[in-house]
Symmetry: C2
Subunit: 332 residues, 2 copies
C-alpha cells in the first residue's frame, strides 16, 4: 500500500509509492563527473571573460580579476534581475507588477575545474560558506531587497549550464512565496505551542534515528519525512538558529556535514545531478524563535509532470527510511 | 529592464526576463511527432496487455477489451495510489500520514497511434472531454475522494512514458495544495468584491486583447499575465462556471478551442512537449460563485532548477503579449 505523507512545514503531500520501490541503482541519471577539455570562463586565466569580481579570496599580492584566487564572486553575466533602478510597483487592472530589480551573482567555488563541493578540500567548502555569509551581509544593507536566495544547480539536468563548480545567489525585492509559506507555518506552530516546529522535528528524528543520515556536534542531516525526491536530504543546526551564519565563528562543522552528505550521495547514486537551497529567515524578521535555517539538497532523479504541476503533490518511489539507510551505510 | 509579475490566483511571481527575450525558434525542444514501429500496449489488438477497461466508446457489437473502440479508459497499470482500502489517517509524532488510497486511470484518446489531440478529428476530442466528464461524475460518488485531477503529459520530457496519445486522472483523498490555494484566493477576492476574480481577468483580457490567443462563442484562450513557461496558455469559459462540464450539453466549443490552441502550439513550436491540467472546483463546494474552471496548457521548453524550487518564482524569457501574437498569427 502506498503511503500519503504531509510535509509539516510546506503543507505539501507526498505519495511514497512503495510498489514502485526503487533502489539506488534503479535511478538512471547521467554521472556528473567532470570532463576535461573545452573553454571554461570560470577557470584561472579567463577572469577577463566574466563580469568583474565583487569579492575574491586571493593573496594581497594578486590584482583583482587575475589568477591566484581560491574563490570569486561575480555578477551573473545573464542576470534574471537587474541591480540598478527603482522598483516602481504598479497595478495593471487586476494585475500587479514591478520592475525586475535584484542581484544575481555567481560564486565560483574553486579554481580547479575538476573539483566539486564533494571532492574539494574541506577548507574550501568553509570558504564557500563564508562567501555566502559575506554576500548576505552586504546585500542586506540594500533596503530594496527583502530576501536573498542562495542555491546550487549541479549538473545539466539540474539546470546548470557550466560544469565548473559554482553556486548562485539571487537578491529579491519580495519575500518568495515558498519562504513566506514556511515562515507563516512555523510562526503559527510557535504561536500555538511556544516551540519551533523544526526543533520538534529534529528532536523526534534524533530520538527515532531511522531517518538520520549523519550528525556531528552542531548539525544533523536527515532524510525528511515527506521527501519530494528520492534521497532528498536536509541539513539543520541542532540548536535553534533562525538565520544562516557561522557557529562559534566557524563553518567547519557545517562544511564537514555538507561534504559528508555530498560524498555519500556521490557514492550511492554515482555522482548525481542535484539542487541545493539555503532556507533562512527573511531580513525583516531575521532573529526569531519560530524559524530554523537549514539546507535542502535534492538529487534530480525523477521528472515532475502534469500531476505534480497541477496538484503540488509529489510521487516518490524511495521511502526516506530506506534512503537514509543506504546513505548511512555508504562507504566513503 | 526585466519585469516582475504576480499571478493573482496563485500568488506566485514570475520574472519576465526580456533581456533574455526568446523567439519561438530559440527553444530547442525535441519535436513530439509520432514515430512508427515498436510494440504499443494502447494500440488496437493489444487490449489484453492493459488492465481491463472501465469505460470504452465502442459499437455494442464488440466485446470489452477487444478492438473496435474509439476511446478506452483503463486503470493505470502502475498506479501511484491504490483504489482498495481505508484511509486510516494517523499521526507519527509531529508528522501526519494516511494510506495511499486513490484512483489512477488512463484515458486512451484514440485507437490511431499516429494521431495527437491536435491532429485527431474534432469529434474525437469531444469524446475525450466526455470521457473526462463521465469519469469525474462516477468518481464523485466515492466519498473517500475529495478531488479528481485530470492532466496530460505529452512527450517524454513532459513526463510521458508512452507515445500513444492519452490523458490521466488521479482521484485524491485530500484537496491538493495548489487547488486549495486557488480556491482560497478566489474566495477571498469574492468576499471582498462580490465578483469572481477569473471573470474580472477574462473581461480585462478581452477588453485589452493583447494576450488573447483565440476565442469562440463560449470560450477564450489567453496567454496568462504571469506565465511560468513561454507560451503557457489558459482556456476559460467566458461566462461564470465553477466546475467542469459540457456547455448546453455539448463539448463542441471546448473541443474547437482546445484543438485550435494545440494546433497553434504545434505550428509555432514544432510539436512541443507539454502538460495540461484541468483546474476545477473541489467536489465539496462544486457549485459556487467564486471559482471558475479552466484548462492550463504548459509547453515544456525550459528547465526548473534551484531558484524555482527554492523560491516558487519562475523566470520566463518570453512576454505573454509576444507569445499571444505569435500564436494568433500562426497559419494553421
Amino acid at each position: 500500500m502506498p503511503e500519503l505523507r504531509k510535509d509539516p512545514i510546506s503543507g505539501r503531500w507526498v505519495i511514497i509509492s512503495v510498489e514502485r520501490g526503487k533502489r539506488p541503482a534503479d535511478f538512471v541519471s547521467p554521472s556528473q563527473k567532470r570532463k576535461a577539455g573545452g573553454f571554461c570562463p570560470f577557470c584561472p586565466g579567463n577572469e577577463h571573460t566574466t563580469t568583474p569580481e565583487i569579492i575574491a579570496f586571493r593573496p594581497a599580492s594578486t590584482p583583482p580579476n587575475s589568477p591566484g584566487w581560491t574563490l570569486r564572486a561575480v555578477p551573473n553575466k545573464f542576470p534574471a534581475l537587474q541591480i540598478h533602478g527603482e522598483l516602481h510597483k504598479m497595478g495593471e487592472g487586476v494585475f500587479d507588477k514591478m520592475n525586475g530589480i535584484g542581484a544575481h551573482e555567481v560564486i565560483i567555488e574553486t579554481p580547479d575545474h575538476q573539483l566539486s563541493l564533494a571532492t574539494m578540500p574541506q577548507r574550501a567548502v568553509e570558504d564557500v560558506l563564508w562567501a555566502y555569509y559575506f554576500r548576505l551581509m552586504d546585500l542586506k544593507k540594500d533596503f530594496r531587497f527583502k530576501y536573498v536566495l542562495i542555491f546550487k544547480n549541479e549538473g545539466e539536468v539540474a539546470g546548470s549550464s557550466l560544469e565548473h563548480s559554482h553556486s548562485q545567489l539571487i537578491a529579491l525585492p519580495i519575500i518568495p512565496k515558498t519562504v513566506k509559506e514556511e515562515m507563516d507555518t512555523a510562526k503559527q506552530y510557535y504561536d500555538s505551542k511556544e516551540r519551533c516546529i523544526f526543533c520538534d522535528i529534529i528532536n523526534q528524528e534524533i530520538e527515532t534515528g531511522k531517518r538520520v543520515i549523519y550528525e556531528n556536534d552542531k548539525y544533523v542531516a536527515v532524510a525528511p519525512f515527506a521527501p519530494r525526491e528520492p534521497f532528498e536530504t536536509w541539513i539543520l543546526p541542532k540548536l535553534h538558529e533562525s538565520n544562516f551564519g557561522p557557529s562559534d565563528k566557524s563553518f567547519s562543522g557545517l562544511a564537514d556535514i555538507m561534504q559528508r552528505v555530498l560524498k555519500q550521495l556521490d557514492k550511492v547514486l554515482d555522482t548525481p545531478p542535484y539542487n541545493f537551497i539555503l532556507h533562512t529567515s527573511a531580513f525583516k524578521d531575521e532573529i526569531n524563535d519560530y524559524y530554523h535555517w537549514h539546507i535542502e539538497i535534492m538529487p534530480k532523479l525523477t521528472r515532475t509532470a502534469g500531476f505534480e504541476w497541477g496538484s503540488g503533490f509529489y510521487v516518490n518511489p524511495t521511502p526516506p527510511e530506506e534512503a537514509a539507510k543506504f546513505m548511512r551505510e555508504a562507504k566513503i
